[in-house]
């Protein structure tokens, strides 16, 4: 990855470029540094991006942080993710919204907002990001220690760019987790191709002829994939691979059963 300039962003085109570069960064620190510049362009000071990955009953959160570290520590320690009203909002909605417009229902949520205001999120914006499947969802919190007018003004000016920003961050996590998953499970490119073929409901013979490997090798590979993913059959392997982000969700909802 070539190094990118770290100067302050001065124009809409530049902001657009910086957002489109996010996918090319390799480390979290690089993405966080670039994201800080973009948030400053929005006229705000803090951000947290949470990526929620659902795998069956299990939910997994990953974060990119551009705010006071104490706030993240407090948030995790008090398990506020369990009552966070913005997660609930992002699960149900796609529109960016002012944090003050999200209704608070419990005393716990009011305490959470009061603490957030003390740590750079006096007012803010919530930007949901949804992927092709319901398995991966992103929530971008943009915050400022100024009053709600600053956040309102920023949202009015940069609404579309904020959506793009959140989606690029979600894609970055998605790609990162896919690569990590392949490495950890010791799967290679042929395994991923075979999982995609299984997702298309290809028989082993069809997969062999389209990927250029012998039938016996395809069968042996499917057995190995099932063993590594700890599933009983190809169907379950595909479902687990989608859940782990190794392959994307099916584009053929009505494919041959």
């Amino acid at each position: 990855m070539e190094s990118r300039p770290a100067e302050t962003i001065g124009s809409l085109e530049e902001a657009n470029d910086r957002i489109s570069w996010l996918g090319g960064y390799e480390s979290e620190s690089e993405v966080e540094a670039a994201a800080r510049q973009i948030v400053e362009y929005f006229g705000l000071q803090s951000f947290v991006f949470g990526a929620l990955f659902r795998n069956g009953e299990r939910e997994d959160y990953r974060y990119l942080v551009g705010c006071e570290p104490e706030w993240c520590f407090l948030y995790n320690e008090r398990k506020w993710y369990a009552i966070d009203p913005f997660i609930d909002y992002a699960l149900r909605s796609t529109s960016p919204v002012l944090a003050s417009d999200v209704p608070l229902h419990t005393a716990g949520q009011q305490r959470l907002m009061a603490e957030a205001a003390e740590h750079g999120f006096r007012s803010g914006i919530v930007v949901p990001a949804h992927s092709g499947s319901a398995i991966r969802i992103g929530i971008l919190y943009l915050g400022t220690s100024d009053g709600p007018e600053r956040a309102r003004d920023s949202l009015r000016k940069h609404r579309s760019l904020m959506r793009a920003f959140a989606l690029e961050l979600l894609e970055w996590w998605d790609a990162r987790l896919r690569a990590d998953g392949l490495e950890v499970l010791d799967l290679d490119a042929l395994d991923v191709d075979l999982l995609r073929k299984a997702q298309e409901h290809a028989t082993a013979e069809e997969a062999a002829r389209e990927l250029g490997v012998t039938l016996s090798r395809v069968k042996a590979r499917y057995e190995r994939i099932e063993r590594k993913l700890e599933v009983p059959n190809k169907r379950s392997a595909v479902e687990k691979a989608v859940a782990l982000g190794l392959i994307r969700g099916a584009r053929w909802p009505e494919a041959r059963p």
């Binding site: 490119a189 042929l190 298309e200 409901h201 290809a202 013979e205 069809e206 062999a208 002829r209 389209e210 990927l211 250029g212 490997v213 012998t214 039938l215 016996s216 584009r251 053929w252 009505e254 494919a255 041959r256």
Partner: protein, 363 residues
């Protein structure tokens, strides 16, 4: 020389000279220079240089600059070949060289186009979509649009006579070439039809159809741009290139039929690890390894144990295949010897094959 890895890596660039033989021949007043050089001189040069005993590029030898050079060579070949093709059509249109001149041009460019199919073969196995697209464009320009799809089918069915690509013992090249072309077309069509039915995609997503349509479009463009002479050169080079490729397929797999339940292996492709052929064809003689590891780039391939040996280099065998009685006289005794070795359960034990039947190997 044939053991030097550095020379071998530099030698891969020799392939760039093959397309240039066509304009060189015209400028020297020797329009048949390219076939004379390739089928007349190179077999003797191959004999002089000997077999490839260089090391494949692996491990610490993989410096980024070296990999960039090796990765870019097939792309550069594509550019040089396409330029030559356009030049030949423009020359034929401008100079009206007559029937013999047109034939010489078509054959000269056709030789480069046969090598272009070989180059496309290297590119189509890569994971980069741009390289795969380039491979499809190259196959289309040789009117061989179904080749990228069919080739993967071939990998899955190597050694299966019913699936094509393997000529049964006794079949001549003149029967094999048209039969295999049509067989390949049928295979590609069947693969794509199954894929499209499965994914509910429209008929226009059929890659074999797309690539043949592109070939037709290119032919029409040559006709529009360079007139009848340009079209004759375009079609002539394509027919010659496809024929050459079919001959090489014939040479690769003649008579090496895979038994029932037998796993595909190096014993299902003839080999002769000629240094010069390897330089010119992106290590195409390492078929056995390529069949086992289709995704591995050409510079990592090496010779395999168990590959039966051709009596001479590909270029020599190409010429011999055109004379069926001579071909059978040379190859059928080898098939008999292989069958005997197999009967004794030694087909995979290279050391136990007769010396004259063993393919050379890398250091």
């Amino acid at each position: 020389m044939a053991g030097s890895s550095t020379l071998k890596l530099a030698g891969h660039a020799l392939c760039l000279g093959i397309p240039l033989l066509a304009p060189l021949g015209v400028s020297l007043g020797v329009p048949w220079l390219s076939p004379l050089a390739v089928f007349g001189v190179l077999p003797f040069l191959s004999l002089l240089i000997g077999e490839d005993r260089s090391l494949p590029v692996a491990g610490l030898r993989r410096s980024p600059a070296l990999l960039a050079y090796l990765d870019f060579l097939p792309r550069i070949y594509a550019a040089v070949w396409m330029g030559t093709l356009a030049w030949a059509a423009a020359y034929a249109s401008r100079e009206t060289p007559g029937t013999a001149g047109l034939a010489a041009l078509a054959v000269s460019v056709g030789i480069a186009s046969a090598l272009a199919i070989c180059t496309a073969h290297e590119l189509m196995h890569r994971r980069s979509p741009a390289d795969v697209l380039l491979a499809r464009l190259m196959a289309s320009a040789c009117l061989y649009g179904h080749m990228p799809v069919e080739h993967f089918h071939h990998h899955a069915t190597v050694g299966d006579v019913a699936a094509g690509a393997t000529a049964p013992r006794g079949m001549s090249i003149y029967r094999f070439a048209p039969t295999d072309f049509l067989h390949g077309l049928g295979n590609a069509w069947a693969v794509e039809r199954a894929r499209l039915r499965r994914t509910r995609a429209g008929w226009w997503r059929n890659r074999a159809l797309q690539d043949h349509a592109l070939g037709l479009g290119l032919a029409l463009s040559f006709f529009a741009g360079f007139g009848t002479a340009g079209l004759v050169v375009f079609i002539g080079q394509a027919v010659f290139a496809v024929f050459c490729f079919e001959v090489i397929t014939y040479v690769h797999h003649y008579g090496l039929v895979r038994g029932e339940n037998e796993e595909a292996g190096p014993q299902h492709a003839w080999a002769h690890h000629c240094w010069l052929t390897n330089c010119l064809t992106f290590n195409n003689t390492f078929q056995g390894d390529h069949h086992l590891r289709p995704g591995v780039p050409y510079y990592e391939l090496h010779a395999m144990y168990g590959a039966p040996r051709l009596p001479a280099s590909y270029l020599t065998m190409f010429c011999l295949a055109l004379v069926p009685p001579l071909w059978r006289a040379l190859m059928d005794p080898r098939l008999d010897a292989l069958a005997q070795a197999r009967a004794r359960g030694m087909a995979m034990a290279r050391q136990e094959l007769p010396e004259w039947l063993r393919a050379g190997q890398c250091r």
